[in-house]
Amino acid sequence: MVFNSYTFIVFFIIILILHNLPFSWRAKKINLLVASYIFYAAWNPPFILLLWLSTVVDFFVGRALYQQENINKRKLLLVVSLIGNLGMLCFFKYGTFLLENFTTLVNLAGINYHPAKPNIILPAGISFYTFTTLCYTIDMYKRKSEPVKSMLDFSLFVTFFPHLVAGPIVRPPQLVPQFENPHQASQKQFLNGLFLLCLGLFMKVVLADSLLAPAANMVFNSSAQLRTIDAWMGVLAFSGQIFFDFAGYSTCAIGVASCLGFVLPQNFMYPYAAIGFSDFWRRWHITLSSWLRDYLYIPLGGNRKGSFRTYINLMITMLLGGLWHGANWTFVAWGALHGLYLCVEKFVKDVSTAKVSTLAYANVNEMPGSAILRNKHLSNLALAMMTFFFINVTWVFFRSPDFTSAWRMLNSMFSPIKAGTALLSTLAIIEVCIITFLMVLAHWLMKNTKVLAVAEKLPWWLLGIAWSIMILLIIWSQESSSSFIYFQF
């Protein structure tokens, strides 16, 4: 079930009514659990079994991991959990990809092997709930937190429908304590939640699906060599589409949870205002990047084992982060580019830190360009624009179905194609330009605040007008029920 559908509206109204009836807290939690299973089953009922399996295995393995004193048995239990979770993910998400690559390799070795293409359906959100359960068992292994006492609370933690299929990726301490005591939304929480739900739907339905997706799809689905302006407009359109689609989903999820009285972690913080790539990953898909940092980068050694190992760890983390997004080498290339950016950024920072310390006694005012450098706001803006530019280059690999298409697109973007094909209409170009400009401007102006904080400062009538414009545009766009891009990850 997707948030932007009539089914969800009916479903959510029923859930709100049930959650606000005078039932016991346990009954309300059972309602939410059943609702979460219905939410998931509405997509493909048999895959509920996978969710159950993952939940039951990790609940008992997690508890045993925490209680077991024998180090070998603990390691064995951890391996069981990792094999269970990652094995499931590997089979469903990477099964076809692995087989294709294996076939290519053996064919290159001269062995004539051509297996039938497996018909594996990817369960929605498997990457998200696998990471949710995985962090629980790893935490139990490290004894970072207490095991969840109740199977009901654990099941609800894994399955809670707002975050189930596309995050935010929650950690047990962020959500489980909220299930232990009765939660009901205050009037403010409820209204904030509704506002966020509308804002998220506006981002998804109006901006991503209605205004940007047509241009992005047209450009990326084309097999022609495009004119430079068409290629750039397509990339900018996708840049906006992926942000509004995914951040829209997260905003909806946070809003829906808030209507029910729960708090989910923030997942986006105006990423296109990022100054540098490490800043970008502090603002884009925050719960995934912090997960990768805590459960991959730091265990690999982080920055504690010298510069060279730091670079290697950064690359490994980003390559696997790329692969997490999809079973295709283009996603690995996307991750590799981000890893490379982070490495270069770290190198430049290390070098400039060393230089600054040697220049500490020099007269900075006499340095060329010092006036610009002293204007922190302007130089930050320039750095943010540069970051945005390089991020756009990475989206080419993220969106292209294969490397041939990606190279063709990069070629169109960076070398003038005289006889290139013109694809986009004047209207599409105007739409992409206006939305991209407003998006980047909004990110820049709001980079250190939150949308609710801004909304709360507005006069009530102005907020009401803005809110109603969003809803009217959602109705007017008449785009409904299309899946969120991140469902496939």
Binding site: Y6, T7, I9, L191, S210, W461, L463, I465, I471
Partner: protein
């Protein structure tokens, strides 16, 4: 902002949204428009799921827009006592749907195939992509999509403004007088809204305004001419035509072998459009050949005085008044000449 202030903003939002939507709806209704259904993949999939009705309870229709304009569903259902399952698609070849029905072991019903030669014998992906998309959607429909369709049906039946083709944001932005970019393909104009309103059964009906206003009719004929001028597709011939015929023969045999009943229909066209069709697709090489190869019966509108005289307002589709007469004659020909029996027709009931 305190919670009460947020509450005031919320109440203002509801008031503004309700007033705006109501005003927009009243404005559209005042211009004489009535609700029309979005004839997209979900409505098509809903009808596709109905093909499993017993063969004495329903007839399935595939083809292109002529089937949707020319068959008056109420007339058919009143005369035969059977349901119409309309699966035709505007501007599309029926062959992907025929393939799909032939491959579906559960389908063994009555099938009427509209042969609009320019589309039926077209190998262009333009004419087959949409049917393939809809078939894929039907096969992968989730429970949530089915439920959303049910809710959508209730909502759509009440509001004129929920006409995605004409009143959605993108459709209206397209109408802005923005200069066209050189080298980018664009239609000179679209079909006017009055040309066809769609019922829940997927019948297209021309409005009274369209029938009165010749400038609207000229707009549509101009569009047909534009399509013809940009088309680089030549009528299929030789091996291409043979492969078309072979596919149809194979599919028809599969359906017949399961107990199904297939019949071909050539629906009316008129004026220069009909002349062009006759020149491009001589009857002996296309229509006659398909009947001969499949061994199935066919009803060509020119063979019957009762159906040969229609004048289509834009040369290609019937107005509803004529569609009623055409459907009455079609049912009569089927019963009297083609041996079709409708056991549930009102007059045969005790």
């Amino acid at each position: 902002m305190t919670a009460p202030n947020f509450l005031k903003a919320g109440i203002l939002t509801i008031v503004l949204v309700v007033l705006s939507v109501a005003s927009w709806e009243l404005h559209l209704r005042s211009s004489g428009l009535r609700p029309s259904y979005d004839d997209g993949e979900s409505l098509w999939a809903d009808k596709r799921a109905m093909v499993y009705m017993p063969s004495d309870k329903a007839t399935v229709f595939i083809g292109s827009s002529r089937n949707k304009f020319d068959l008056d569903i109420k007339t058919w259902e009143d005369l035969t006592g059977e349901k119409v399952v309309q699966l035709a698609m505007e501007g599309m070849s029926p062959l992907p749907v025929l393939d799909d029905l032939a491959a579906d072991q559960k389908f063994a019903g009555k099938l009427m195939i509209d042969v609009t030669e320019g589309l039926f014998f077209s190998a262009s992906p333009r004419n087959t992509s949409e049917p393939k998309t809809r078939i894929a959607y039907f096969k992968k429909r989730t429970p949530a999509q089915r439920f959303s369709f049910l809710v959508n049906h209730v909502v759509e039946s009440q509001f004129v403004f929920l006409d995605k083709n004409f009143f959605s944001m993108n459709a209206m932005l397209e109408e802005l007088p923005i200069p066209r970019r050189g080298g980018v393909f664009a239609l000179p104009w679209g079909c006017p809204i009055e040309f066809g309103r769609v019922t829940f059964d997927r019948q297209n009906i021309m409005t009274e305004k369209f029938l009165r206003d010749t400038s609207l009719q000229n707009k549509v004929t101009g569009l047909w001419n534009f399509y013809r001028s940009i088309s680089t597709d030549k009528p299929a011939s030789g091996a291409t035509l043979d492969s078309f015929i072979n596919v149809v023969v194979k599919d028809v045999k599969l359906i017949q072998a399961r107990g199904g009943n297939v019949i071909f229909v050539r629906t009316p066209s008129s004026g220069p459009y009909l002349m062009g069709e006759k020149m491009g697709f001589p009857r002996t090489q296309y229509w006659d050949r398909i009947l001969l190869a499949t061994g199935r019966q066919g009803i060509h509108f020119e063979d019957y005085p009762a159906t040969a005289h229609f004048q289509c307002p834009e040369f290609s589709h019937l107005k509803q008044a004529d569609a009623i007469i055409y459907t009455q004659n079609l049912v009569s020909i089927l019963q009297q000449e083609k041996g079709w029996v409708f056991p549930h027709k009102p007059m045969s009931r005790p």
